[in-house]
């Protein structure tokens, strides 16, 4: 398989983060500035240039043991610095499914 870095030229349209799924349980995780992973989007390292995005992705991809399938995703950062998902897919990954489930199912 081609590494995510070779797949295409990296372009970003605005503030971005790197996200993946945690290896042991598949949970959604975000790459942090401290070179680790967090399930908390507010702890994600936000990059604003293609070069920085490439570096962050490259570092994330090197940590194949802990997380699977890293990629760059857009975020929105407001004036207070709060980070929010930049598209519906990422919103669903963060907040869970958008649908009511059958009553006895445990909530996400």
């Amino acid at each position: 398989m081609t590494s995510p870095l070779e797949q295409k030229k990296i372009k970003i349209a605005g503030p971005s983060i790197v996200t993946a799924n945690r290896t042991w349980d598949g949970a959604v995780v975000y790459r942090t500035a401290g070179h680790g992973w967090s399930t908390d989007l507010t702890e994600a390292a936000v990059v604003r240039t293609a070069d920085a995005a490439r570096d962050l992705l490259s570092e994330a991809a090197a940590d194949d043991v802990n997380a699977v399938g890293p990629y760059i995703a857009p975020v929105a950062v407001d004036q207070t610095g709060t980070i929010a998902p930049g598209n519906l897919r990422e919103r669903i990954r963060l907040d869970g499914v958008t649908i009511p489930l059958l009553p006895v199912a445990v909530a996400a």
Partner: protein, 551 residues
């Protein structure tokens, strides 16, 4: 029910140990994801938006109550308390942890269930009519042949690395409930003039980006020759199938590019020259598989028992009976469909509690047997008619007696963007909104048979091309929009639907469907003209006009 033999049991337990070791090595970092991906896919483990997804096969849609209880156990112990029945007689668990997967697999193996070949470029779960063995007028139980094919294709070395995935479906009834024409190979069991049992063989069906209906390449292949003929098909595919382009790799593209006649010639040629000896099924081989299926000992029961007469005054019961109860080949018995399409809920989902309760009801009323249909509903195949009122009360209590089978709210929907990493748009909320719009049973009955199928991307897991109304989610400038087709069907008269016009935004889909339905009600010749027949007679135009006149 089919009883597994020692070979099956050994295979499953070896497979679990092997996967346990692979998972351990992945978690320790000994295996990279690139190395591990193929191994997990061979065990039905995908990575989706929120978590790993685990797909378990339910061969030819038959489950014992013990197996269903075990699926409930997996949902409860390793997942979030529910599972999703798919359009290919599989069940999917959405939140499984990789570290716990080997335990889940081991628990399932104990009751003879597995996830082998539920993903990857191999031969997938062999599907069949969910009413197999009980449908009136059936030629023979098609599951015998499904099982023969299952054994033959499981871990077959030559067919484990095909150009692309490969799906079989089998039916033995005139009315096709197994959607065989949208499978790579569709087999219709019938008898020839001499009274021998064999198959009409259809090849090259499939949906996705380039949808095709399967073409008949031989009208009759004797049952003895089924495996050699199928092997000839797979060899031709293996030889000529495109491995350079994933979008052109399915057998449907090969059949289309070569033409069905030429493809048939290639198969015949391969078949003529191959050494068929080991693949020819003897009567004893067939009998051996047949004898491993057990059938209930039916009683001699009245066609119209007192219990049924007494319950007839209950309008809710009657509405359900008329909708969800079908004739059985044995007088005094019925086939009962359990709707997994409650109003406002995800199509095809069942909770662990529901699965347990259904397993108990199957023990009590259906000789311990449950069926799974491609429409994402369940069925109890052997219910004595006298038990129908009691069964209905129990099913109603657990929420699986919505009388909407085959009606407008009996929607097929894929998981879509709420779960699936390939999705462009959501499917389930569209289905939920539609079930709310058409929640009134009288309105739905007035509309009559109408199948709505929804997919969240062009991969078409929700079979949108063959929905009477098909809804396909696509993404446009970051927004979810939906293309709508009408006129598709997946039965013996299968057709692909036609687009009615430009895609519509998420918020308008339910309105558009209502417009289409209203147009049908206004234009139909009478209540006997089904939606699908009206579309055939009228074409797309009147529906297009109605939908887009004000948009």
């Amino acid at each position: 029910m089919y009883a597994y033999d020692d070979i099956d049991r050994t295979l499953l337990s070896e497979r679990v140990s092997e996967f346990r070791d692979q998972v351990k090595r992945r978690l320790s970092g000994e295996l990279t994801e690139d190395e591990f991906k193929m191994l997990r896919l061979q065990n039905g483990v995908y990575l989706q938006l929120h978590a790993y997804m685990f797909r378990v096969a339910i061969p030819y849609g038959t489950l014992s109550s013990k197996q269903l209880r075990r699926l409930a156990h997996v949902a409860r112990t390793y997942d979030r308390g529910y599972g999703h029945f798919t359009t290919r007689q599989n069940i999917q668990f959405n939140w499984i942890k990789l570290a716990e997967l080997p335990d889940a697999l081991a628990d399932l193996a104990e009751v003879g269930i597995h996830s082998m070949q539920t993903s990857g470029n191999n031969t997938r779960n062999v599907t069949s009519d969910q009413w197999a063995g009980v449908a009136p007028g059936e030629v023979e139980d098609p599951r015998i042949w499904s099982e023969i094919l299952r054994q033959y294709t499981t871990l077959h070395p030559e067919f484990s690395f095909l150009p692309r995935k490969f799906k079989f479906a089998i039916t033995a009834s005139k009315h096709d409930r197994a959607a065989i024409k949208i499978h790579d190979v569709g087999l219709r069991l019938h008898r020839n003039d001499k009274g021998e049992t064999g198959f009409e063989v259809m090849v090259g069906g499939g949906l996705g980006r380039t949808p095709f209906l399967a073409k008949t390449i031989r009208h009759f292949v004797h049952g003895h020759d089924l495996l050699s003929y199928v092997e000839a098909i797979l060899r031709v595919y293996n030889r000529y199938g495109r491995r350079d382009n994933i979008y052109k790799a399915r057998i449907k593209i090969l059949v289309h590019e070569l033409g069905a006649d030429k493809f048939a010639q290639e198969v015949e040629e391969e078949w003529r020259q191959m050494d068929k000896r080991v693949l020819t099924l003897t009567d004893a081989d067939i009998e051996n598989v047949r004898s491993r299926f057990s059938y209930p000992v039916y009683e001699n029961l009245p066609h119209m028992p007192d219990e049924l007469k007494a319950a007839a005054h209950d309008t809710r019961f009657e509405a359900w009976r008329k909708n969800s109860v079908a004739p059985h080949k044995v007088p005094g018995y019925a086939i009962v469909t359990l709707s997994l399409k409650p109003v406002g809920m995800p199509p095809g989902d069942a909770t662990a509690e529901q699965m347990d309760a259904i397993a108990d009801l199957a023990d009590r009323y259906s000789f311990g047997e449950i069926r799974v249909g491609h429409e994402q509903n369940l069925a109890l195949p052997h219910v004595a008619k006298r038990d129908l009122p009691a069964l209905w009360r129990a099913l109603d209590k657990i929420g699986v007696a919505t009388p909407n089978v085959n009606l407008v709210s009996d929607i097929i929907a894929c998981p879509g963007l709420d779960y699936c990493s390939l999705a462009n748009a959501r499917s389930i909320p569209i289905a939920q909104e539609l079930t709310r719009r058409f929640a009134n049973h009288e309105t739905a009955s007035l509309i009559g048979r109408l199948h709505i199928n929804i997919s969240g991307c062009i991969n078409a897991c929700g079979h949108h091309h063959v929905g009477h109304i098909g809804i396909l989610g696509v993404e446009k400038n970051g927004q979810e929009v939906y293309q709508i087709t009408i006129g598709g069907r997946a039965d013996e008269n299968a057709e692909l639907g036609n687009l009615i016009g430009p895609a519509v935004p998420y918020g308008e889909v339910a309105d558009v469907v209502e417009d289409i339905v209203e147009a049908y009600l206004a234009l139909r010749e009478g209540p006997d003209e089904l939606f699908i027949d009206a579309v055939k007679r009228l074409g797309v135009e009147p529906f297009r006009e109605r939908v887009y006149a004000t948009r």
